[in-house]
Symmetry: C2
Subunit: 600 residues, 2 copies
């Protein structure tokens, strides 16, 4: 099934919702207005539609393969990655000083969406490389930056994040990999890392592993973890490749999805020790890793949007072709295409509403990040940074959980054919399932949303977002279309109820998290999902207003936007009150909190 | 991962909720009280835990294989099926006259649950055979019954249902397979059938295909479809096997899940015509097929319960072993098993609440079927039949959709390990995905619930169930525990809200289905899910009352039941209002109903 980048909706979100032209007024982004956006996105679409998307199903049928320590990527991937790299796409958001394009995150975000919609497995390689680049730029020495970053940006090399060990997943305090200091200032690394995405492959000549490990005198727990560069091949002073380092891929995992993306078990130091360089200061590794991780978390949220859109496109294509049964309203005597059946419409419309809502929220978040980095005013920067940080766990957690629903509906639209692997819908269902797990499970995102993003400022950022929603509600209320439009009325009613539910949730969290941590954290995922439903709904309400105002300019597009906002209001927003009840109800729930282990 | 039949909860549902001892008062069921139930279930548990469950993962890794028209089942399956057959399990609910045990459906239901929890792929073979037996008993001639039914009941042969063709899935009006009458009274069958579960295998010496086809003079559409017996090997007068019939398996599907269950493409008549016998009258095939299908639909609902329980057991096992992170409440300085973390408890408790609610509803439905068949009073029988028929699409649709959520949570509990196939959690996630599709998708169930089960009696059966819920609500309200129990209060509040939502939904459907069919059918799945959430909640409320009253008899069990009912009230029942909003909101939703095809 082919993929067509949803350029029109992407432009809508970029320009109308996220305000790309406002970013073009910021220092360093002068050239990054909507004209540039259009040119970049069209070029990106050509590559991803034409080169990466056609390989997606191949990657599932013919995954990366391990043999004698070497991993061979799916045929075609190496060449596709080369085209991606040569097009400069790895460097889109990275500094010009190291060969990047230095474009706003808002502009790189739709490109990341296209990449992952086209080919989620292949998209993971640049995603991890982005993380490695960010960590080196933040914490690396100038010499390290010069040696590694340009090659990563050019796509000559790729990067990895080595966190997880068999006993240390969500809990990095348990990391055991050792780093022994050597006389020459380097370290010898010993240990086993698992779940290393693209940890070994043949697409590039070198791989730069960033590895969490402990030095001999490090304190216990997360405060004793340091970050090391461990390249697959050592890099000489002149940048040429030296000896093979002592890091080896001993196996790759047999996974439910993203099969083309090799998930490596890496063994460090079985032959004398892998040579590593300390990045930044010792014992600050976790802090640096969080830089990578925060960028990656946002990108994984965008993966959720991406795979949802791909699943939607496939389902629409099938629903327009497949003929089955007469219409329930008796409007035809013959069987019709299934897109004419009301339940298929419900499924497609819900898929679309969720996808567009999550896309809008992600793009708006990206713009906040750009404002936080580039705005000349300190206080304004801080404000936008706080909003961005509040949104990251929501974009990551909600968009990815949402993608499970969308890809499942995608299978359902196909009926029995959806269960047959050749159809392709099942691959999205399988691939999506990793998204709420890696880079921090949804519960980890919820913990972050509660702890660092809600309690720390006692709900201040959340309150500022609620104020903005109130303004949108007032606009809906006062709009000339309100009285005659079922969409406006439904949105006003459901968004208002959702807004109140979110307000209650934030107050509840702030009030009870310290005194009843178990109760509040038991509802954490409900709080996160509630925030996603309401904030996505807020973006759909803003879309509805814009669409109503601009309708005459492009009736087909804006009518569809109004309709999709309406579906979001009727099919998605009502969940807010159920999620609020789940959060608040968890407080006294003996089922969750009071059962003994042996009663499970 | 091993499987342990949840005998205690099964007995609770059988005796306390579904009233098995009441059934033992019915003619023919004199021996089928709770003592018999205990003996049967314990024996069933031994077989399914010990023989079928250990083969489940093998079947996924080493699926049924096709070669030159023959299908070889996963190693071990043939012997396991032989033990199943020799134990008399295929005949549990079938008439003693043909070798069955003639036990109540209520008693066969937990056995079917165990079978499918142990091994969903293998369980499908008896499930389809049950359907074939029921159709032959209802519509076959005495000679046909004598020739086929005893061999099917003994498990010497198996049965299949041949409905689907490439162009005819949900829409059987499009069936094209031809049946040409012969001078000797037989027919020659020509055509292609797809998605035939266990349509070819080596577990038994013969396979009895029941096939929908058209005779030359048949009217168009569903009123021109007849049902034929087409055995793989012809059966001689003396019951011995004759020649190989002209039906051949040309391929099997490569599927997302239930891989050990061969899904066959069957070609009839490529070598002169497959010899078939008409079952019952010509052109009444669809009616007969619905007999098979209704039995199968209920059983598929039980499969949803079964796989949910299996996924729950696996997740609990992992959560008790896996050590990761310190408690959020600071109660320990060391990392603890993840079952101690609040979000893991939320997931496990929700999985459990959904599973127990769906189990209770299915068992209560089974008892209705028994009363409908055996009660001496005509009017009482009709009443129970109507309730059973209302519940079947809900048990099928809701329990299977619910299993998608439960198996997905099961993966999530495992974190990254859940995505690794060897862990086993992913298999349940994949296997479950077929359940809301086959034997009629959830939308087909919703259409049935609206059309035949709600509109036809203008909501009378639904109203009678609401009255029963009111009685339960009054019991909660008046119970001595009410004032001191958070569980009682939460249940009372949420069930009352759910009851009102269901009431509104039924009224809405009755009022608008004729005038606005598209709007109502667009909300059909929401109506079905709402009914499932509320009726399952009703059973959990009844469970809560019983548990509170009997607590002293077995505090560990009944406290857990109270806790689980509480979780159902806080985490599941609040969805009722969101589903009501989705149903009613679909009415004017332009997104679903007014968009042109080209706007999708």
């Amino acid at each position: 099934m082919s993929y067509v980048a949803p350029l029109k909706d992407m432009f809508f979100a970029l320009t109308e919702l996220a305000g790309i032209d406002r970013l073009a007024g910021l220092p360093g982004f002068e050239e990054a207005g909507s004209d540039t956006a259009r040119a970049v996105l069209e070029e990106a679409a050509r590559l991803h539609e034409g080169v990466l998307a056609p390989l997606n199903h191949d990657g599932d049928r013919n995954p990366s393969a391990w043999r004698d320590g070497a991993v061979t990527a799916t045929p075609g991937f190496k060449d596709a990655f080369r085209q991606f790299a040569e097009g400069g796409w790895q460097g889109l958001q990275h500094p010009a000083d190291y060969g990047g394009q230095e474009l706003p995150k808002l502009l790189s975000t739709p490109c990341i969406e296209m990449l992952n919609a086209a080919n989620l497995s292949l998209g993971l390689c640049p995603l991890l490389t982005d993380g490695a680049i960010e960590a080196l730029l933040t914490a690396g020495s100038e010499e390290q930056k010069q040696r590694y970053v340009p090659k990563l940006i050019s796509g000559e090399w790729t990067g990895t994040m080595n966190l997880t060990e068999p006993q240390a997943g969500s809990d990095l305090a348990l990391v055991r990999t050792r780093a022994e200091p050597q006389a020459d200032g380097t370290y010898r690394i010993f240990g086993t890392k698992i779940f290393i995405t693209w940890g070994e492959h043949d697409m590039t000549e070198n791989i730069v592993h960033l590895v969490l490990a402990r030095t001999p005198d490090a304190p216990e727990g997360v405060k004793g973890i340091s970050l090391f560069i461990v390249p697959k091949f050592l890099v000489n002073e002149d940048g040429s490749l030296g000896e093979r380092n002592d890091v080896h891929c001993v196996s790759i995992e047999h996974k439910l999805g993203i099969k083309a993306s090799p998930t490596a078990v890496l063994q460090f130091g079985d032959h004398g020790g892998a040579i590593g360089q300390l990045v930044g200061e010792a014992n600050r590794g976790l802090e640096y890793m969080f830089i990578m991780m925060n960028a990656a978390r946002f990108a994984v949220g965008v993966q959720g949007v991406a795979i949802s859109d791909r699943a939607y496109q496939q389902a629409v294509g099938y629903a327009k072709e497949r003929v089955q049964s007469r219409p329930v309203d008796g409007s035809a005597k013959q069987s019709v295409t299934i897109i004419q059946h009301p339940d298929v419409r419900r499924m497609l419309s819900t898929m679309r509403a969720l996808t567009e809502g999550a896309r809008a929220l992600a793009y708006v978040a990206a713009a906040q990040s750009d404002l936080a980095h580039r705005h000349p005013d300190d206080a304004t920067r801080a404000q936008h940074q706080a909003i961005y940080e509040y949104l990251v766990p929501i974009v990551k957690g909600w968009s990815t959980e949402m993608s499970l629903e969308v890809t499942s509906l995608g299978v359902q639209v196909h009926g029995g054919m959806g269960f047959i692997e050749e159809t392709g819908a099942a691959q999205y269902y399988r691939d999506a399932r990793i998204l709420p797990i890696y880079e921090g499970t949804t519960a980890i995102q919820a913990n972050d949303l509660i702890g660092r993003k809600t309690l720390r400022d006692r709900g201040a950022v959340a309150a500022s977002l609620l104020t903005q929603i109130d303004a949108t509600l007032a606009e809906l209320d006062g709009h000339p279309s309100y009285r005659s439009s079922a969409a406006f009325q439904a949105m006003q009613r459901r968004l208002a109820a959702g807004r109140d539910a979110l307000d209650n949730a934030v107050r509840f969290v702030v009030e009870h998290a310290k005194s009843e941590p178990n109760a509040v954290f038991a509802g954490g995922v409900s709080y996160l999902m509630l925030a996603g439903v309401v904030l996505g709904g807020w973006q759909m309400a803003r879309s509805l207003l814009i669409a109503a105002n601009k309708r005459e300019e492009d009736p087909a597009f804006y009518d569809a936007k109004i309709a999709t906002a309406h579906t979001y209001a009727t099919q998605v927003l009502p969940r807010a009150v159920a999620l609020e009840a789940a959060l608040l109800g968890a407080r006294q729930d003996e089922g969750m909190l009071a059962l003994r282990e042996d009663q499970f």
